[in-house]
């Protein structure tokens, strides 16, 4: 059970953050279809940063001394770098959509094509293969916290809470949760958030009240890019052993679906992300999942093909969308380029 909760969180939290990234863009009036591409780019930048820093030997001493606080600082730094470059990458979309009034769907698709192409082109030249990995060690040995760090022995038990939320967990997941809360408050409880949301509903009215629509939309897309870039790196770090291969398996699109299903609201998004997280987790771990702790791998033993579990998240998405579509309410002005002259 604790494995299921832990793994679900590992999938659900990046999903939440990336879905919130989508909310920031859409609430400001820009459809950000490029979430997938920005995630791919952020994952690449984060892994590249980790690799470079390892090659420079900055954290080697801390790694040898098992100084896990320093290691977590390193992970935070990499997350920040990934967020920064994700933000830069998303400005391509912002420029096309805001300044040039381009078709946002096509612009987003272009970034989704660009990110894997550019990333794979560079990875092949850097690593002579299609996967870029860390220079030294692997993701668990660098970024995971383990019970031994708190003085527990190999056989000592940490209790349910300890073994679920502390042992073998990535603190990056919790950092993402905190960022999710902070950014939700920013969007819903501050003056800036109100102004940003108004630009996605009625930009003409916002403009008449002296709000700079262009600036608000730029900040919406930039925040969106930063969150998605960070989410991409956290996804790569926690589920792909800190490697980048120009692919996040449709995770960015799942985040878009979570956003729609969550009705563009943070609390609903948490619920939606947890639902998808459970199915993603089952798809990844169906063979080693012991749900009620009786030593029986039930999902494996009922003899359903692994292909079924793999297609489950996508099928569920479609079904859930079909059932919730009636109550869904998208920001009114999303996808429409702002034109001062139109009414």
């Amino acid at each position: 059970m604790s494995l299921l909760i832990q793994q679900t969180l590992i999938y659900a939290v990046p999903l939440m953050v990336v879905a919130l990234a989508g909310v920031f863009a859409e609430r400001s009036g820009i459809i950000n279809l490029a979430l997938e591409g920005i995630m791919i780019f952020g994952a690449f930048i984060g892994v590249m940063f980790v690799r470079l820093v390892q090659q420079w030997g900055w954290f080697t001493a801390a790694y040898a001394a098992k100084d896990w606080v320093a290691m977590q600082g390193f992970a935070l730094l990499a997350m920040f770098v990934a967020a920064f470059f994700g933000c830069l990458f998303s400005l391509l979309l912002a420029f096309a959509a805001i300044n040039l009034r381009a078709d946002q769907t096509i612009g987003g698709t272009a970034l989704n094509l660009l990110a894997p192409a550019l990333v794979l082109f560079l990875i092949r030249i850097i690593a002579q293969q299609n996967t870029l990995s860390m220079a030294i060690g692997d993701s668990p040995s660098w970024f995971m916290i383990k019970k031994s760090m708190f003085g527990y022995g190999r056989t000592a038990k940490m209790g349910f809470l300890g073994s679920t939320f502390v042992d073998k967990a990535y603190p990056a997941t919790y950092v993402c949760l905190i960022i999710f809360v902070v950014m939700s408050v920013l969007l819903y409880k501050t003056r800036f958030g109100l102004r940003l949301r108004s630009c996605g509903e009625n930009p003409q009215a916002s403009d008449s009240l002296g709000i700079n629509v262009m600036k608000m939309r730029y900040s919406g897309v930039a925040i969106s890019g930063a969150l998605a870039g960070m989410g991409g790196f956290v996804y790569a770090m926690t589920t792909a052993n800190c490697t980048a291969n120009g692919d996040v398996a449709g995770f960015g699109f799942l985040a878009l679906a979570v956003m729609i299903f969550g009705n563009w609201k943070p609390l609903n998004i948490v619920g939606a992300a947890l639902l998808f997280g459970v199915f993603k987790c089952i798809a990844a771990l169906y063979g080693s999942l012991d749900i009620n702790g009786d030593g029986v791998y039930w999902l494996k033993e009922i003899g359903v093909s692994p292909n079924f579990y793999r297609l489950l998240p996508y099928a569920i998405t479609l079904i859930v969308l079909a059932f919730t579509s009636k109550s869904s309410r998208a920001p009114k002005a999303e996808g429409i380029p702002y034109d001062k002259g139109s009414r």
Partner: protein
Amino acid sequence: MKKRFGLLSTDGGRTIVASLISIVIGMVIGALVVLIVGICTPTIGLKGALDGVRIILGGLFVLGERTEAGALAFGFNSVSMGNMLFRAMPLVMTGLSVAIAYRTGLFNIGAAGQYLMGTLASLFVALSIPSATVPAWIIWTLALLAGMLAGALWGAIPGLLKALLNINEVIACIMTNWLAANLVTWAFEVSNLKNVAEGTKTAYIYKTTFNNVATSKLGLDQLFPGSQVNGGILIAALFAVIVYIIITKTTFGYELKACGFNRYAARYAGIHDKRNIVLSMAIAGSLASLGGALYYLSGNTEFYWNTYQTLPGEGFNGIPVALLAANNPIAVIFTAMFMSMLSICGTRLSQLTAFNEYITNVIIAVIVYMSAFSLIIKMFLGRHARKDEPLVQAAVALTESLKPGKAPPDAAKASDPKPISLDKGGADQ
């Protein structure tokens, strides 16, 4: 100079120029990336980078081997030419698929999944019917039809969701893409079509030459000896013409366009908008799946079935093909050839230099990015063109002279000499 403005004076001409600008910018950025990466990488250097740029621009005409001095040799390469036509075939079909959906205002990003479903159905039919008892051409035709039907059903799913529940077709298409990838893997995994005759290969399906159900070459292999080309490209071109006729010459095509412009106005005019949305997606699906069917029925391609984590690039490259062609079915044939030329260049690049084929995807992405604001480029071109037209010039001159502060030149001369000395236009006259 005059001729250029002649081209710019019509809407179609401006579309062509806008597409050409997108292509040029895409190629330049691709070349720049290669140049920068090459110079920054010590093992490649300036010489390697320049070779890379040469292949990006003229990869179609690179001969297989380097000369003795180590330089690239250029010339007519029948293998590359034929392969370009061969690889253009699925792109024509996916391009048509995206184009016809776009006419109805739908963005068909699900061509990849439809392509996979077409591959699945046609390969199952082609390889399951015993060719000893049934003539090969009947099996081949049945396989094509099965592929089209599977794609039509698969494309209809997002169409139905859009028409009945108003679910964004982009999200629905993406989900059906991944569903298709998983379903295809599952179906082939339990099938007995996996290639076990050639022991070294894992996760491949038999080629259709295995039971002699391959697309006819129609003599094209003699035109381009050594290449993979076959009659499929002619079938694809035929479909382009059919789609062109449907869109421009039939009531149904007009109804599709009307739904694309304004779904609610179309409904007001008595057009079944829901039916047309579903039909448009079904046709788009069958076109995309026909691409998959043609590609894998050709006999010299093998399908890698363990594909649950990857989607075929042909599906997504249908988007730039359609965008560059401005959704014109006839133009799709040519833009598809351009895209397949890029892919040949990419293969050449990874064979002959230290670079790899992914740079062509960068170029394609830049082209799509440019296409997103091709409308702006067209408007910009239009503005420049109008300045040159004699009628517009006359109108501009007339409005200038009618401005309140500016009296006709000779009247100004008489009343007040001072402005004339300042106003060059007046002095010339």
